[in-house]
């Protein structure tokens, strides 16, 4: 039963620096790559190998202490150069130096439908492709011993300056289909795939067999898989669903069609501080220095792995996040502005019309990281609701989390949301509340209390 959903609520943030649809070669080969356990919620990593050990692509580097079968493997062949540790010896990253040999561990090439679920799960686990599959509620790595009621793939990203998946994925129809076939085996329910109704469906999605195709149209967060789940088949208490990103699905598809863990991906380099925003072919966890070299203006910038709403801040020599398909570079806003609240504000973007920038609805903005004000108690109403196209009262949910009221959180639908879904609420909040952080605390509390 495919659906056509038109969403009115939401907000497209008109940032400057959209990537031009051109593939660019980075100036030099990737120096190093890193797997960051910090990209995953509630993961306790345990190293599988020691510093200095040699790995091939697909060799385990570390595993999940609580689920030892969930392995994280090297996307390239090379040497484990360093295990970076932070406070209290918490592991922050496994840095691998590629040797340029491109040697890979060989996995079985087979039709997933014929392999049976157990064998498919085993292959995914051994190849290190399993962590690409995420579970809701809680936004954690899927538990291999569970079966989800459905699997959801959002075929487009509506976040600010997000990469165009139609462009990234084109020409990889067979690998994508293979990925869908794998997902079909993993669930007893449906595999749901959505596309952006604002454009005609691209070939990669129209040729897919075996998935329910849904059309979503509207401003961000229409492309968020959580919003789509809420409209297609909402998560109830006790239910789990899995989600996966289309590019990550290609990695799974290639695993079964070629028998290797080939974690190459295309990322968009975006943002107002990028001289020439374009698309780059790289590999999961790649060092961003070679991509950024000579392509960034000024030096007081923030480099974000991901988009401006949900991404992670990295330094100029940092690494791409496990799930990131985008790097955004925007100016830091760590300066004072004289009577900024009173200025007409022709160059300040706001969802309301208190700044005169509403005179120029088509303008693209060079937004910086300034908070534009201090934290306050919540005053203005309907700001959260107007950017969340889900059947949820976000403000009441946030307040229930602050009060640590477990029953209320459950009743108000905390299982249906993760940070990215409420990111726009945080953006729009006049009172500068850290909505995503509060939600993560709530999810962590629910995970430990309810499980």
């Amino acid at each position: 039963m495919s659906q056509k959903v038109k969403l009115r609520k939401g907000l497209n943030i008109p940032l400057k620096g959209k990537a031009e649809k051109v593939f660019e070669q980075s100036t030099s080969a990737v120096k190093s790559i890193a797997l960051k356990p910090t990209d995953f919620n509630m993961l306790t990593p345990k190293p599988a190998i020691a510093e200095g050990d040699k790995v091939k692509a697909g060799d385990a580097v570390f595993f999940d202490k609580n689920h030892p079968e969930v392995k994280f493997t090297s996307p390239v062949s090379g040497t484990l150069k360093q295990i970076v540790r932070g406070d209290r010896r918490r592991i922050l990253a496994f840095v691998i130096e590629p040797d340029g040999q491109n040697e890979s561990v060989k996995f079985e090439v087979a039709n997933p439908a014929k392999m049976g679920r157990e064998k498919v799960v085993e292959t995914l686990l051994n190849a290190g492709a399993w962590p690409l599959i995420k579970q809701r509620p809680y936004d954690i790595i899927a538990n291999p011993s569970q079966t989800p009621k459905a699997i959801f793939v959002s075929g487009f990203d509506s976040a600010p300056l997000a990469p165009d998946y139609d462009f990234i994925l084109s020409g990889q129809e067979s690998d994508f289909q293979m990925g869908i076939d794998v997902l079909k085996v993993l669930t007893n329910g449906q595999v749901h795939l959505s596309y952006n109704g604002a454009y005609p469906m691209s070939k990669i999605y129209s040729s897919v067999k075996g998935a329910e195709i849904h059309e979503f149209e509207g401003p961000h967060p229409a492309g968020n898989v959580g919003v789509q789940i809420n409209h297609i088949d909402p998560i109830n208490k006790g239910e789990i669903v899995w989600t996966i990103n289309p590019q990550d699905l290609l990695i799974i598809g290639r695993l079964f069609s070629k028998g290797v863990f080939d974690a190459t991906k295309v990322i968009a380099l975006t943002g107002s501080q990028v001289k020439a925003p374009k698309y780059y072919r790289t590999v999961l966890g790649a060092n961003v220095a070679s991509i950024l070299a000579g392509n960034v203006e000024g030096d007081n910038n923030r480099i974000i792995s991901g988009n401006v709403l949900t991404g992670t801040q990295i330094d100029a020599n940092g690494y791409l996040g496990f799930f990131s398909n985008q790097i955004t570079v925007i100016p830091e806003g760590n300066d004072y502005e004289f009577m900024g609240w009173a200025a007409p504000g022709f160059n300040k973007f706001s969802a309301g019309r208190t700044f005169f920038s509403w005179l120029m609805p088509k303008k693209e903005y060079e937004m910086n990281t300034n908070t534009h004000g201090e934290p306050r108690a919540i005053v203005v109403s309907n700001q959260y609701d107007s950017v969340l196209p889900m059947d949820i009262y976000p403000e009441f949910l946030v307040k229930a989390i602050m009060a640590q009221d477990i029953d209320k959180m459950e009743q108000l639908g905390i299982y249906e949301v993760i940070e990215e879904d409420l990111a726009l609420c945080e953006f729009a909040c006049t009172s500068k509340i850290q909505v995503q952080k509060i939600l993560r605390n709530g999810l962590n509390l629910m995970y430990t209390e309810v499980g």
Binding site: K237, F338, D385, F427, K437
Partner: protein, 379 residues
Amino acid sequence: MKALRNYIDRIKPQFSEGGKFAKFRSTFGAFETFLFTPNTVNQGGVHVRDAVDLKRTMTAVIIALVPALFFGIWNTGYQHFLAIGNNAATFGEIVCYGLIKVLPIVVVSYVVGLAIEFISAQINGHEVNEGYLVSGMIIPLVMPADIPLWMVAIATAFSVIFVKEVFGGTGMNLWNPALVARAFIFFAYPTKISGDQVWYGAEQMADGFSGATPLALAAAGTYNPANDMNAFLGFIPGSIGETSVVAILIGAVILLWTGVASWKTMVSVFVGGALMGFVFNASGMSCLTWYEHLIIGGFAFGAVFMATDPVTSSRTETGKYIYGFLIGAMAIIIRVMNPGYPEGMMLAILLMNTFAPLIDHCVVSRNISKRLNRVKTTK
């Protein structure tokens, strides 16, 4: 500006923790952020944020109040000269008289209110909130021009301390502070805020001049419909900011266009009032037609500036329709049905402020039971 910034940066350490004037941290912070938007950046969450903050939002409301304030100043003078029978007063004289009457009330309201805000921020160690900037402007606008200043001071102090600060400051209060200030005077000094003599600043009325407000006339059943246009434009006696529907509507347009106030609340109040006014008029209980109810007294001012206060209003979108409608309806019911005082808007809003959390509770409960039913139907 660089020099000013440098100066602030130089003295800032003295006001920070461990500094000589650390006690005055909140006060310093309030002035610093007034002059310069802070240089704080987003950490761990979104990397960009909407440019709007509470200062900007409150500024928009104050701008929306300005037409009502200006008209109120003029009208205070106009009514005064009308009352004393001086038809030859120039525009300048009218405005001067108005300024002399109104400005002190504004100043007293701000000085008393902000002083308490600063002190309590200091005591509680939090930042000074912007909320009072609006309350401080609304309080004078809902007072009669003749109100003694000490009464304004006491009422303001009462409402800021007992309605706002004891609940935790801006964003935490249950009732609209400006309305409570008015209600305080209303019940503590009833003769000073109603009756026929409080609007003109005149010891001696000219012969044949009736000092009654249209509302009082309506309560007595002697309202003259020929007065409608005057009531709409605002050439009638009444509280400083409430008389001119035109000035209030200009404010309403600003509030709605900037998105600061909810059109749902505003429209619902007018709908509720119109409907109730129509019912009473049709049943013969009120001599006013439905639209006359909306243009006289404090109805329009309450609907536009007070009912829409997001903190004390219903916070769910569905709730806003119910909340607004009931305010409008209650205001007219109180006006018509009670024998004591002619105005009902103040009490209607305060009553619905009290019930707004209940309305929200019902709306949210519906969402909760919907979610629970979903589980039942899927099993």
